[in-house]
Symmetry: C2
Subunit: 254 residues, 2 copies
DNA sequence: TAGTGGTCTAGACCACTGC
DNA sequence: CAGTGGTCTAGACCACTAA
């Protein structure tokens, strides 16, 4: 039994002790912490207090507690990596793909095509593409992994008259290949904007990204414009916000 | 007394009811919710349960509870605004100032110079500028407001041999004016990178930005390079992540 | 089934704020 | 000082997971 003394709230002290233990490596990612009754006995506290400590560790991204199973240790939230470089477009490469981003980090990228086909666009997407609400178009969903760990959800939206047919999404070659095919159709993207927001993860997103519920996620919306200023593609990327660093670069090439 | 029924946790139902009430405008930003004992009576629950509901609303950014005072309603977290546009550098403007960003949003900007002088650079800054740890240089801290509400903390770091003297920070004209003075000294910035991270707010940051404790904040680190590739300035911006949308644009001008 | 975490109570005491 | 939120207990019951 440890000595937990005021004035610091005891559940906060327990959270600190567990946090340090995780940081030290006493509990490895993927393993589970001792049960709440066990911890309550160990620290001489009530289960309710331990539960509060767990809630704290969850909100900080250290663990994810699962009803009936236990509290699973997650990846250290401090491991961040560069994600994206918007190169000078004169270099002939105005957009860097997921595979290229990962190559810079030493991680092995992998992409899974989840679904593709004609669907009604969500409201925010229709707005970004300046289409009427309820418009249908080509929707293409992908899951991205780094070293086989899930890291990103990507969804691409292309108006039907720009895409021509849903076949433009196959074979699956990522945005770069898609942009080439758009160019062949006379809709080559030459300008991009990215809107970066942070919001709480939905349960589905938290589950795929392997984070605690309601953890903040980056929600990046890229819009691609062709030479006539027409909006030819919108693409959303969802990433666990505490685990990533987004980098943008512009100006004269070095 | 309302009817709170399982299976939804009752504290979650209370949180939902209060959330909707705030959204409807029953409680305006700046006002305080009823006290926890009052709410406990109203909903037929224990104060502990109400306290949990409040913790939930806090983590979602709706209120900030202050010990001994009450739970203060914050600005709606859904009001987001465009913050930044990295224009094509050929247009003669490779960086848009805070005042210009705000002008696009219809908000009235105001900047307060908090401090300026020679200080030891933090570790992350020394690293970004490729200086030895412990190096001293010019540090300039500012507070930014929009319509007189605090929105951003900015700190600029310039190596001493680049700045020449601390006088380069005066008069206070924001980064654009500073970049002109750096250009006069032969260190005109021509390339920029911005690293965007999300982390929990420190108590000081939460207090200034008027958010609940530990709410996520954007931490944007801009690094400026001169024509020789020398790193001439680093600048950090802290913003409440749930309230802002960061926008980057590149490619051919429309 | 046994073990896990999730919720809730009744009551208590403390710490902080403002009058 | 009275009123506020913060913490904690002892005990209870429920819901979920896994064997």
């Amino acid at each position: 039994m440890s000595t937990l003394e005021p004035p610091r709230a005891r559940y906060k002290q327990v959270a600190s002790l567990l946090r340090e233990a995780i940081r030290r490596g006493d509990y490895l990612p993927g393993s589970t912490l001792p049960s709440q009754p066990d911890l309550a006995r160990e620290y001489g506290l009530n289960q309710s207090s331990i539960s509060r400590a767990m809630a704290m560790l969850q909100s900080e991204g250290w663990v994810r507690t699962e009803h009936g199973r236990g509290s699973v240790v997650l990846e250290m939230p401090t491991v961040k990596r560069v994600r994206r470089i918007a190169r000078d477009y004169r270099s002939g490469q105005s957009y860097s793909s997921y595979a290229e981003e990962m190559a810079d980090t030493g991680l092995t990228p992998r992409t899974e095509l989840v679904s593709w086909g004609a669907e009604t666009f969500p409201e925010g997407i229709a707005e970004a593409l300046e289409l009427d609400p309820g418009t249908r178009g080509l929707v293409r969903k992908r899951h991205m992994f780094a070293d086989d760990k899930p890291v990103q959800l990507a969804t691409s939206y292309i108006p039907m008259d720009v895409a021509g047919s849903v076949d433009i999404a196959m074979p699956d070659t990522g945005p770069s290949g898609m942009y080439e095919r758009l160019a062949e159709r006379g809709f080559g993207p030459v300008r991009f904007t990215e809107d970066i927001e942070v919001r709480s993860a939905t349960p589905d997103e938290a589950s795929f990204l392997n984070t605690a519920q309601s953890q903040p996620v980056f929600c990046v919306l890229r819009t691609a414009f062709d030479a006539n200023g027409r909006r030819v593609e919108a693409c959303t990327n969802i990433l666990a916000a505490f685990r990533w660093k987004l980098t943008y670069a512009w100006g004269q090439e070095p």
